[in-house]
């Protein structure tokens, strides 16, 4: 089924999101609707990458978006961009869900986890999202194989570093280091500043 395609501003770049979240913090529901339009796609994407169950993903994404509304007054722009705050929250909630007991029962076995990067919905994605994806993919290729596997298993599959170590058959210390230096390399390639 083909879904509506909206071309939206790249949430990583627009200063507008900051301002909108500031208005949401004051209880502005219209501003929240704009925030929703900008971040709902990335939020659902993050959650779905980790959970891979469409129904559960929508439920968690919804919780995250409502939490954005609820906690917006506590968001502090000097501590990071709004999109970072929101996506960190989305990832945290997805990881919480995937680590809950029930979800753990349904967890794929380790072999399947090595299918690392989630499939992208090629049909109905945003143009901006495609550009972002290309850049992230390109930068992921600059990582060593172990760095890339460690980072993607942790982020896209929601594994703890212990689970990553187990899945890859590596010592814990090695995985800790790979997660850190992998992200540092990715940060430098993407030109991320906090």
């Amino acid at each position: 089924m083909k879904e509506a395609v909206h071309i939206v501003r790249n949430p990583a770049k627009g200063p507008d999101l900051q301002e909108l979240v500031g208005r949401v913090a004051l209880g502005d529901e219209d501003a929240f609707a704009h925030v929703y339009d900008i971040v709902a796609g990335p939020v659902l994407g993050v959650v779905r990458a980790v959970l891979r169950d469409h129904a559960q993903s929508e439920e968690v994404a919804q919780e995250v978006l409502v939490e954005v509304w609820r906690t917006a007054p506590r968001y502090r722009p000097d501590r990071g961009t709004a999109v970072n705050w929101i996506l960190t929250l989305a990832h945290r909630r997805a990881v919480d869900r995937v680590r809950s007991v029930d979800a753990a029962m349904a967890r794929d076995h380790k072999a399947a986890l090595l299918d690392r990067v989630p499939e992208y919905d090629e049909v109905a994605e945003h143009v901006e999202a495609r550009l972002e994806r290309e850049q992230v993919r390109r930068c992921l290729r600059t990582l060593t194989e172990l760095q890339r596997q460690s980072v993607t298993l942790a982020y896209y599959r929601g594994l703890t570093y212990r689970e990553v170590a187990e899945a890859l058959g590596l010592p814990l210390g090695t995985v800790k280091t790979r997660l850190r230096d992998g992200l540092i390399r990715l940060r430098d390639c993407l030109g991320v500043t906090a």
Partner: protein
């Protein structure tokens, strides 16, 4: 775990790949390690880019559902104002003890925690707690100042307001009880009245009927205070007729 080990956890922490216990000890470490906090913030922003890269099309029904739900969900407050519920009875009886109030405020500040809500967190939470408690301390200092003077007034629609001014500290605190929510998209703004010229003294928390606010800025000879309804975010000059004006106690 040694400090060196902890420092290496910035990546795992940013990816939510630590156990809960490990996250807690890492956050404790973060609070005292500025370079780690900086690196963690950057790596967390990097992780967010991994998230942006997998944006998914969203079913239209989700939008409607979320937008409907938020109308019933109360927002949290920034944590810089302090809720004081025992004040109301005191005001009614006209027996407000500033020292009792100061003690309540201190207790509220101690209990009324700061939620860890964002990823750079432990450090943040500490800073926020410090700020909240600084604000509460300042409020308490005004209320307990030997020269504090109090004036209470009935505001519109059953609300009561009390202003406490300490000339020696050059600060004023406004305590309100039973205040109605401002209209949607509006906020209450406080003003110092400089002989007819209004000077902004900050915003009130739209979500709280009862609150104690340290008025922003110094009294600086102001003769009274006012409250107006302003667009969200506040204004630099009043854009509406004050809903309340109070002379400061002499």
């Amino acid at each position: 775990m040694t400090t060196v080990d902890l420092h290496r956890l910035t990546g795992a922490y940013a990816l939510h790949a630590l156990s809960d216990e490990e996250s807690v000890s890492f956050e404790r470490h973060l609070a005292g390690c500025e370079p780690c906090a900086q690196e963690t913030a950057e790596l967390s922003a990097t992780a967010a880019r991994l998230g942006l890269a997998v944006a998914a099309p969203v079913p239209p029904a989700l939008r409607e559902h979320v937008l409907r739900r938020i109308t019933t969900v109360r927002q949290e407050t920034p944590g810089t104002t302090v809720r004081v519920s025992p004040v109301r009875a005191g005001l009614r009886a006209g027996l407000l003890s500033r020292w009792a109030l100061a003690a309540c405020l201190a207790a509220a500040a101690a209990l009324g925690g700061t939620t860890v809500w964002q990823h750079q967190q432990a450090a943040d939470a500490r800073a926020e707690a410090r700020q909240a408690s600084r604000s509460a301390d300042e409020i308490a200092a005004v209320l307990a100042a030997p020269d504090a003077r109090t004036r209470a007034a009935d505001l519109a629609a059953g609300a009561t307001g009390t202003v406490v001014v300490s000339q020696s500290r050059d600060k004023a605190v406004f305590v309100v009880s039973g205040m109605a929510r401002p209209p949607r998209g509006k906020v209450y703004e406080l003003w110092f009245d400089d002989a007819g010229t209004m000077r902004s003294a900050g915003l009130m928390d739209a979500d709280r009927g009862d609150q104690t606010v340290l008025m922003r800025g110094n009294v600086d000879g102001a003769s009274g205070m006012g409250i107006t309804v302003e667009p969200a975010g506040g204004s630099t000059h009043p854009t509406s007729t004050p809903i309340a004006l109070m002379a400061f106690p002499g």
